[in-house]
């Protein structure tokens, strides 16, 4: 594997995770529990899709075969997506979305903090830009986790259950393979075991403030590195890609 091949894969991991989580958040459009939250969640969706555009465009440039951001988003099959398993979890009820977004935003936050120093200029610039947006996403989900966890008995129990349900997909966030190994040597990627330590601190701090319990360590689902997904991704991309599949090359 060349550095260029590894870097393309790395961009797809970053870009796909933003894209899929962004698509998930856009499903809340007009379905938010209150108007302000509807707006907040679609704002977050917009940020995430914006972030994915930068990385998918860059992946196309590195590949040099003329593929655009749209080609990557609309013309790949399920087994070609490298997004985190956590990002494709269904929205469920509001507490499920809060728990998923909190765990994922904390991951992005610490990952981008570290990637700001990447030796790849584009990755570093992308991280420095995205961290400003992700900070808002992390704060939004943290505040809601506290409000729900430290709220009524019902909200407390429901969001605890949401956290427990999401937990088995958090191990996948920190899996690494030869792509990471190669890029860490080049100073482009970061060691995810280091990110995990920071993530643990943030997660524990907010969970404690929310009067919730950190879920017990359990069997972790994995698959991201090999583009193996849960049953939910296929349905998500079927909806996301519908228009381009039904009307190929349609332009807005």
């Amino acid at each position: 594997m060349t550095t260029n091949e590894a870097l393309i894969n790395y961009c797809l991991r970053l870009g796909d995770s933003s894209l899929i989580l962004g698509q998930r958040m856009s499903e809340w459009c007009s379905n938010g529990p209150i108007l302000e939250e509807d707006i907040a969640m679609t704002n977050i969706a917009l940020d995430l899709i914006g972030q994915s555009r930068t990385m998918l465009t860059y992946a196309g440039k590195l590949e040099g075969k003329g593929r655009t951001e749209d080609d990557f988003a609309y013309k790949r099959e399920e087994r070609e997506f490298y997004n985190t398993l956590l990002s494709e979890r269904p929205n469920g009820h509001f507490g499920d979305t809060v728990a998923r977004n909190f765990l994922h935003s904390a991951f992005f936050y610490h990952l981008f903090q570290a990637l700001k120093n990447s030796k790849d200029e584009m990755i570093a610039a992308h991280a420095a830009k995205s961290i400003k947006e992700v900070t808002y996403h992390l704060r939004h989900s943290s505040e809601w986790l506290v409000r729900l966890g430290d709220g009524t008995e019902e909200s407390h129990n429901k969001v605890q259950e949401s956290l427990n349900d999401m937990w088995e997909f958090t191990g996948d966030l920190f899996e690494m393979n030869e792509v990471d190994e190669l890029l860490i040597k080049e100073g482009i990627a970061v060691d995810l075991t280091e990110i995990k330590k920071e993530w643990d601190k943030t997660v524990n701090q907010v969970i404690e403030r929310a009067t919730l319990n950190r879920p017990e360590e359990c069997y972790m689902q994995t698959g991201r590195l090999n583009a193996i997904h849960s049953e939910y991704l296929g349905h998500l991309i079927a909806e996301m890609q519908f228009l381009q599949r039904a009307y190929p090359e349609a332009q807005w």
């Binding site: 302000e36 939250e37 707006i39 907040a40 704002n43 977050i44 917009l46 940020d47 995430l48 899709i49 914006g50 972030q51 555009r53 930068t54 936050y109 200029e121 584009m122 570093a124 610039a125 992308h126 420095a128 830009k129 995205s130 400003k132 947006e133 900070t135 808002y136 992390l138 704060r139 939004h140 943290s142 505040e143 506290v146 943030t202 701090q205 907010v206």
Partner: protein, 167 residues
Amino acid sequence: MVNDIKYTKEQVWGFISEIPDPEIPVITIEELGVLRDVEVTPTKVIVTITPTYTGCPAMKMFEDDIISTLKEHGIENVEIKMVYSPAWTTDWMPQKAKDKLKAYGIAPPVDGSADKGVLFANGPKVVICPRCKSKDTILTSQFGSTACKALYSCKDCLEPFDYFKCI
């Protein structure tokens, strides 16, 4: 050559610096800090811009407006270059633009730079109501009608208003 550019960098900058923000038409791409650089070569003009937020839909409109504005001056060969570093910040906004925002009904960014509180908003920040100038205002939501704004409401005149976030 047919496409010879007969303008200087300063002239080209002057043509496009007044292009307004499509959502907040009182401020220009220059004041917003989106317009970063103009380069004039013998055959083409290269305009460098940076996005406010990565997903901001106004960016496409800025690109279209730059191209059509330059076309009016007979410049056909235009390249738009998007840069992400240094990352856009509200610190670049001059006082003149902040005053225009206020007059337009949007509270301008308050602090010198970004809100540093990561997990939880770091304490009360006084955002003055652009309508009645009251300091007794409250944050309704960190997210507003566009990516760059938060929602506030005034406890004196009871009106809701937009606040241009610091990032």
